[in-house]
């Protein structure tokens, strides 16, 4: 089967998760009060960011480490680091 949604796509991947997030939302109030569109929840290709009414939930475990959120957050409100060596996403094909 060819995938039809993001859950099925993410399910194809292998991750070696660290116990600590490499992505940090610096100030959840900025998301709440200044960012009505919550753009990271739209353009993140792995649906890492989910707005939970009061704070941004960061599902770093499914991150592709593409860097879009660091560059695309209009408030530079995301601290972006690489996961610890050998951790994070493990692409097996392309």
């Amino acid at each position: 089967m060819s995938t039809t949604n993001i859950e099925e796509k993410q399910f194809l991947l292998r991750f070696k998760c660290d116990t600590k997030s490499h992505l940090t939302v610096l100030d959840h109030d900025v998301c709440m009060t200044q960012c009505p569109d919550k753009l990271c929840t739209v353009f993140c290709p792995a649906e890492v960011y989910k707005w939970e009414g009061k704070r941004m939930q960061v599902g770093y475990e499914g991150c592709h480490e593409c860097g879009s959120c660091r560059i695309g957050c209009p408030y530079q409100n995301i601290k972006w680091e690489y996961p610890k060596g050998g951790h994070g996403i493990v692409f097996r094909l392309a």
């Binding site: 060819s2 560059i71 690489y82 996403i89 097996r92």
Partner: protein, 431 residues
């Protein structure tokens, strides 16, 4: 006492591995540091590897490298919602040595290439993140890693850490990139039996096809999609500038699914099985976004230096060539025992004198033009489809009258002057 190397290369992608390979081949002591479980495990590419720059490093590499198919046909699609205008070129001179380009799967290819650097004597260390460059008296003298006691020293540190080059940013070589300087691209590898691929793409044996798709593939936003043939799988992907993605509030995976379901694309994928989904940024700022590439004891290569020609989908070849140029500069610097910026600027001179910067300069205003004037993707591509449909539909209208009607429909919508301006602007951006 931590070990001292001649060269430390950060990142075992095409740029870093080329540099490590060439340095080691010239007898230098090289440390190649990769953050992934293995080289390639963090790297993503649509899939086209050009022969020339790879061959400059390893002659006749196609005899042993893990490649998918030599590309014998390149197609271009100007796609609307239920139609497509196509052109392309197929030539069997590309089916024989020395070939023009190949489709590849990077996880295998990068491992193979890094192993070649190891065979030349480079020391490869995986699963290690370089957290910062060690700077002393204005000179980079080594790197700090996330391993315990993880410092290493060298005469030259080569930053091949990719589009997210936190290290060159730390050194102040560039500010943070803007969303219009990077393209967010997502792709899927879809398994399909070899005979099905050959039937659907009209191919024989191991021959391969690439299709670049413009227009409705990005819903008219600035970007492209691609469909490439591997041995027994297809790579299908789509990307737009991050700024376009933000402006149009597009979810990249939904755009990919839209493309997969598109009536012009769907028949090629029918019955395929998704094997992997990948997202990555492509540095597409072009000439104006190339950062400082040389400093005291440090060089920047490949994606980290924004060396991508988006119009011609060239990137990994530029990465390899830049890595090799960096190696040549380091070898010369070593002879002089001088690793200052002035000495290492040999690399910058080579880069700026080569096809790499010349090509980036040629297209320096292209992305900006097409981003600022969205009518090319949004209006002219559908118009082109309508014109073709009208012209080739036999309905008893004399051809001369048809041509008039087509011209009128284009100019009526926008005005003759506007159309002329648009044509001139586009020509200027790519001439």
């Amino acid at each position: 006492m931590p070990e001292k190397f001649d060269v430390i290369v950060v990142g075992a992608g095409p740029a870093g591995t080329s540099c490590a390979y060439s340095c080691a081949k010239n007898g230098l002591k090289v440390l190649l540091i990769e953050r992934g479980e293995y080289p390639g495990s963090k790297n993503v590419m649509g899939g086209v590897l050009y022969r020339k720059q790879m061959e400059d490093i390893i002659p006749e590499f196609w005899k042993e490298a893990p490649l998918e198919r030599p590309v014998v046909e390149q197609r271009f699609w100007m796609m609307d919602k239920e139609s497509v205008v196509q052109f392309g070129y197929k030539g069997l001179e590309w089916a024989v040595e020395p070939y023009n380009n190949f489709t590849v799967l990077r996880a295998q290819f990068d491992q193979w290439f890094a192993q070649k650097a190891v065979e030349q004597g480079a020391l490869l260390i995986n699963e290690t993140v370089v957290t910062e460059c060690i700077v002393e008296n204005g000179k980079v003298i080594g790197v700090r890693t996330d391993r315990p006691d993880g410092e290493a020293f060298a005469d030259v540190v080569v930053l091949a850490d990719g589009v997210n080059s936190l290290l060159s940013k730390q050194l102040g070589f560039h500010r943070e990139f803007r969303p219009d300087e990077v393209a967010l691209t997502v792709m899927e590898v879809i398994n399909l039996p070899k005979d099905k691929i050959n039937e659907r793409f009209n191919l024989e044996g191991n021959h391969g096809t690439t299709i670049e798709i413009f227009g409705d593939s990005t819903k008219g936003n600035l970007g492209t999609a691609f469909l490439y043939t591997n041995k027994d799988s297809l790579n299908i992907g789509v990307g737009t500038t991050l700024s376009s993605m933000i402006k149009a509030k597009l979810k990249p995976y939904e755009l990919l699914d839209y493309l997969k379901k598109h009536p012009m694309v769907r028949p090629y994928l029918e019955g395929g099985e998704s094997a992997e989904y990948l997202a990555h940024l492509i540095p597409e700022g072009g000439f104006h976004s190339v950062p400082r590439v040389a400093g005291n004891g440090v060089l920047v290569v490949g994606d980290a230096a924004q060396l991508v020609n988006a119009i011609h989908r060239e990137g990994s070849n530029m990465a390899m060539a830049s890595g090799q140029m960096a190696a040549e500069a380091i070898v010369e610097a070593k002879k002089d025992g001088d690793f200052s910026e002035k000495s290492l600027n040999r690399y910058k001179e080579a880069l700026y004198g080569s096809f790499i910067i010349k090509d980036l300069e040629k297209y320096k205003d292209a992305a900006h033009t097409f981003e600022k004037y969205p009518q090319y993707f949004k209006e002219y591509l559908p118009m082109m489809n309508q014109a073709m449909s009208k012209f080739f539909t036999v309905d008893g209208t004399p051809k001369k009258e048809k041509q008039k009607q087509i011209m009128r429909s284009v100019t009526a919508e926008k005005g003759t002057l506007k159309v002329m301006q648009d044509i001139y602007r586009a020509w200027k951006a790519v001439k």
